[in-house]
């Protein structure tokens, strides 16, 4: 099957390409970028991409698909369909399912279900410890063989630093990637929003910045000691960026990402107890947001993720502190990220890099590019088209987004996975 | 249709005379006079002095008893009702400046009954604008008037008492 995507503005950060041309796909892989078909090429199908942008499919470093377990909130089929509609072709899933991803069977189940649905490449993150209890090592090697691409203990605490040290040593032995979602358990136990002027005013229990920075510091020291391949997910504080910057200057190979909502929103937006803004880590101060945005520009943050957490309606229908944290974000990842370009924080190619090549490099994947020979995971979007976020437009079972009812600019027209059209508007 | 000023002092004088007659007629020897805030109180004070009544004057504020509370809201400066002696079993003379729909008197009587069961109530008003919504009639009236749609009557006082008919602006 040969598909040609005609006349789009092709942006591929890996090749530093930003040009209007045709993209030729041959048998599931990228064949060429150009104005004339390669010799002997015959297109079975043509996609008109005039006035559209053609880029590698997005890679989302952290999502909850809810299956197995909380299928009232989302299923692998529903959420991967939503991902395809959001231009995402690869995503990582949280090990915090029920059962937890600490056995090869669960990891395989997730991939099987995802393959059945056929929308997106689903790469499970394995649990670092059994049951995410923070004590006993999970079978990291077996999990890796069953498809886990990284390991995390999510936001759950390790029983002590020794347990963490042992886990990192073991992961380092097999050169496995460990993802930290840094949060000190004691400092965040009861909190539901950033500890600052807004939480003081609303009388909500705060989570201080130290809850993240203490844990980032501890992890950095142990990374240095063990030499483990490490990545920090969904950072929320300016100070964390500084700590990681300093570590990188010392020569530590650590990477970090940020969730899109932390780049756009802050604790002051929580005014009025809007439970759609209840999220972990909490939305921080405007200064923190500025620090994160700076970190994105300077590449300390090399990826933007959705931190997708679909919830059922009832989960958000309670007083703020009693609601479940989380934002449904697969389908808003791209349009919200485009706001950063509109706000002149970064250029469009740089943004595409944060959504494609950046996360691919963190994971050591060869995707996230349109180089000839790689699998044809492609996203075609209209940067000018506006759409309204509502029950009808969202495919995800989770309608829990602070942007519900908002009109967003930038809409995916077509998503190709391995040269196959998995979403078309 | 009328307009301009009415002589309030003259009206008060005729009300005093008629009330004196009515009291004799009904054999009211020691009634309690009660004025409805604000205009009714001014009148009641004058009547109380003129008739040389024994029992002290009572003052009624009916704001909490109005039936249009849900439509017009609450006046935040409600002053307390002051009934200086028990009204149970007594003859009452209720005084107000103007009667029209009869709702104010309805509210006043409801409030009075919360304080006990009076033997009788006699109603005195200076002006009767008619247009009643309720079957309530004054026993003593200074003058009956018919106002135009856009007209309003206003009593000012207490000294001197003056009645002015104005066009609503």
């Amino acid at each position: 099957m040969n598909i040609v995507i005609e006349g789009g503005r092709i942006i591929d950060p890996a090749q530093k390409i930003d040009t209007v041309a045709n993209l030729y796909i041959h048998q599931g892989t990228i064949l060429a970028i150009g104005h004339e078909p390669p010799e002997g090429y015959f297109a079975d199908d043509t996609l008109d991409a005039r006035n559209k942008i053609v880029c590698p499919g997005l890679i989302d470093l952290f999502t909850h698909l809810r299956e197995p377990g909380a299928t009232q909130k989302g299923s692998i089929a529903s959420e991967t369909a939503a991902a395809a509609a959001g231009g995402i072709t690869t995503l990582l899933t949280s090990p915090a399912t029920s059962p937890i991803v600490d056995t090869p069977a669960v990891a395989e189940l997730i991939q099987d279900r995802a393959a059945d649905a056929g929308f997106v490449r689903v790469l499970p993150i394995g649990a670092l410890t059994r049951g995410l209890q923070g004590e006993q090592l999970a079978p990291l090697h077996a999990l890796t063989r069953s498809g886990c691409v990284a390991f995390t203990n999510a936001r759950l605490p390790m029983v002590d630093s020794l347990a963490l040290l042992r886990c990192l040593e073991y992961a380092a032995t097999f050169d496995l990637l460990v993802i930290f979602q840094a949060q000190d358990a004691g400092l965040s136990r009861k909190g539901c929003m950033h500890d600052g002027a807004s939480s003081a005013r609303m009388g909500l229990e705060g989570i201080p910045e130290a809850a993240e920075t203490i844990e980032v510091s501890r992890c950095l020291l142990l990374i240095e000691q063990t030499g483990v391949r490490a990545h920090f997910g969904q950072l929320s504080c300016e100070r964390s960026i500084q700590l990681i910057d300093a570590a990188r200057k010392r020569g530590l190979q650590v990477t970090a990402d940020v969730a899109i909502h932390h780049l756009l929103l802050c604790d002051e937006d929580v005014n009025g107890f809007d439970s759609s803004l209840h999220v972990q880590p909490p939305l921080r101060s405007p200064l923190d947001r500025a620090g994160l945005r700076q970190g994105l520009v300077t590449d300390t943050l090399s990826a933007i993720c959705s931190d997708h957490q679909p919830l059922d309606v009832i989960a958000k229908q309670a007083p703020f502190s009693e609601t479940e944290p989380g934002i449904s974000g697969l389908e808003t990842l791209l349009p919200l990220s485009l706001k950063l370009v509109e706000q002149k924080l970064i250029e469009l190619p740089q943004l595409i890099e944060k959504l494609t090549l950046g996360p691919a490099k963190i994971l050591g994947l060869d995707s996230g590019t349109l180089q000839s020979g790689v699998q044809a995971d492609v996203c075609i979007f209209d940067p000018e088209a506006t759409w309204t976020v509502n029950d009808q437009s969202l495919l995800s079972m989770g309608k829990n987004t602070p942007y519900y009812g908002h009109s967003l600019k930038g809409r995916v027209d077509c998503t190709l996975l391995g040269g196959r059209i998995v979403f078309k508007r | 249709m009328v307009s301009g000023h009415l002589n309030a002092e003259n009206l008060l004088e005729s009300v005093t005379q008629e009330l004196r007659v009515q009291m004799m007629h009904r054999d009211l020897t020691d009634p309690i006079m009660i004025g409805i805030r604000t205009g009714g109180v001014w009148l009641a004070e004058r009547l109380h002095t003129a008739l040389n009544l024994n029992s002290p004057l009572g003052v009624l504020d009916i704001s909490f008893y109005r039936d249009d509370f849900s439509q017009s809201g609450l006046n935040p400066k409600v002053q307390p009702t002051q009934l200086p002696c028990p009204t149970e079993g007594r003859d009452l003379i209720l005084v107000d400046d103007v009667i029209m729909s009869g709702r104010t008197i309805r509210a006043a009587m409801n409030e009075l009954f919360d304080y006990g069961r009076p033997a009788s109530i006699l109603l005195v008003t200076l002006i009767d604008l008619q247009h009643r919504h309720l079957p309530i009639q004054p026993d003593v009236v200074g003058e009956r008037l018919t106002l135009g749609e856009d007209q309003q009557i206003k009593l000012s006082g207490p000294f001197p008492l003056a009645l002015e008919i104005r066009n609503r602006s």
Binding site: A200, L204, N271, A318, S321, T323 | D68, S70, L74, V98
Partner: protein, 341 residues
């Protein structure tokens, strides 16, 4: 940041009348003064022989207490009864409820009973907002305390007490002492005092009992009584929950008392005519010395008396605003109004 507009939208009618009473924050000085004036009328009425008016006759007020409080519940109940409303008291233990479902379900059930007003107390901040957002538009919601967020009727009764003793707020220095961190009363008082134009608002507490960035609410922070109480006109003591001693917030009751308990000696730092207030119930020998609590400068019992009047005022104003709001806009002035000129 748009709290003003937000709070306007949720608790005021387009004409600026109260339809819910959820928080003091964002209300105008005019409206607060109107509440105080109306409450004053009820204070007078409550001293009368007949302590009942028919303003809410035929209305049903449901007191939804998800957190036990005999005192607040009884003043709300008495206030509603003195306004001639039918009163339904529901003590709903939160321990048996799971997440938010039950709160919403409870709400739906009560709405089906056609209640006209919900008086809500809940342990979660924002619970009253949540309920106001989810009730049908003709039901008024009064916040009787939500988590650490707000206790607006308590703050207004304190303002009424202060006004009765001090007249104007303009020149007043007010100190709030004790567990500011966990106190919804303190938060509402700070808003009320600021809106009514108090000269200086101080909070006095150790750092463990102060929320971060409390200064952003417009208060001065003191950690010592001797400096914090200097020249104040009003001292508001807060209740200290015994549970606080079980965490690292405070070492012991006696240490707290020796540092922050209001004694005659410490009260001497305040102005000679300073008044002492406490929202109750009092922990004698923990926050306050008995001699002070029962002394001539204590106005604690006035606060209780004013509590009923303020609640009557707020309930009648919210009910009136709620009905005005839901009535057709073509209402014309009634003749009863002309008559009372």
């Amino acid at each position: 940041m748009l709290p003003k507009e937000y709070y306007d939208a949720i608790q005021l009618t387009p004409e600026g009348q109260l339809k819910h009473f959820l928080t003091i924050e964002g209300l105008s000085p005019l409206l607060l003064t109107e509440i105080l004036d109306t409450a004053d009328s009820f204070v007078d009425m409550n001293a009368q022989q007949v302590k009942k008016v028919p303003l809410l006759r035929g209305k049903t007020v449901a007191n939804l207490f998800f957190e036990a409080s005999t005192r607040t519940l009884s003043t709300f109940e008495l206030a509603a009864k003195r306004l001639s409303a039918d009163v339904l008291n529901l003590n709903i233990s939160t321990s048996s409820t799971s997440k938010g479902e039950t709160l919403k379900d409870t709400l739906m059930t009560l709405q089906a009973m056609h209640c006209d007003m919900f008086v809500v107390r809940h342990s979660a901040s924002g619970a009253a907002h949540f309920i106001a957002q989810h009730v049908t538009p003709d039901v008024a919601v009064i916040n009787a305390g939500d988590g650490r967020h707000a206790h607006p009727t308590q703050a207004m009764l304190d303002m009424l007490t202060i006004r009765q003793h001090k007249g104007d707020f303009k020149n007043l220095k007010v100190a709030i002492v004790g567990d500011i961190l966990h106190s919804r009363v303190a938060r509402s008082e700070i808003h009320a005092l600021r809106i009514l134009g108090a000269n200086e608002i101080r909070v006095i507490a150790p750092a463990t009992l102060l929320p971060k960035h409390i200064e952003s609410l417009g208060v001065k922070v003191f950690t010592e009584m001797s400096r914090g109480l200097r020249d104040v006109d009003v001292v508001i003591m807060l209740r200290l929950q015994r549970e606080r001693m079980q965490t690292a917030l405070l070492p012991s009751e006696s240490e707290f008392y020796s540092l922050y308990g209001l004694t005659e000696n410490k009260l001497a730092y305040a102005k000679p005519d300073a008044i002492v207030m406490h929202p109750g119930p009092i922990n004698r020998g923990v926050e306050i010395e008995s001699r002070v609590a029962d002394g001539p400068r204590s106005v604690i019992l006035n606060q209780v008396t004013n509590g009923i009047a303020v609640r009557m005022a707020v309930m009648s104003m919210a009910m009136s605003g709620q009905q005005l709001n839901t009535q057709s806009s073509s209402f014309t002035e009634s003749s009863a109004r002309t008559e009372s000129l």
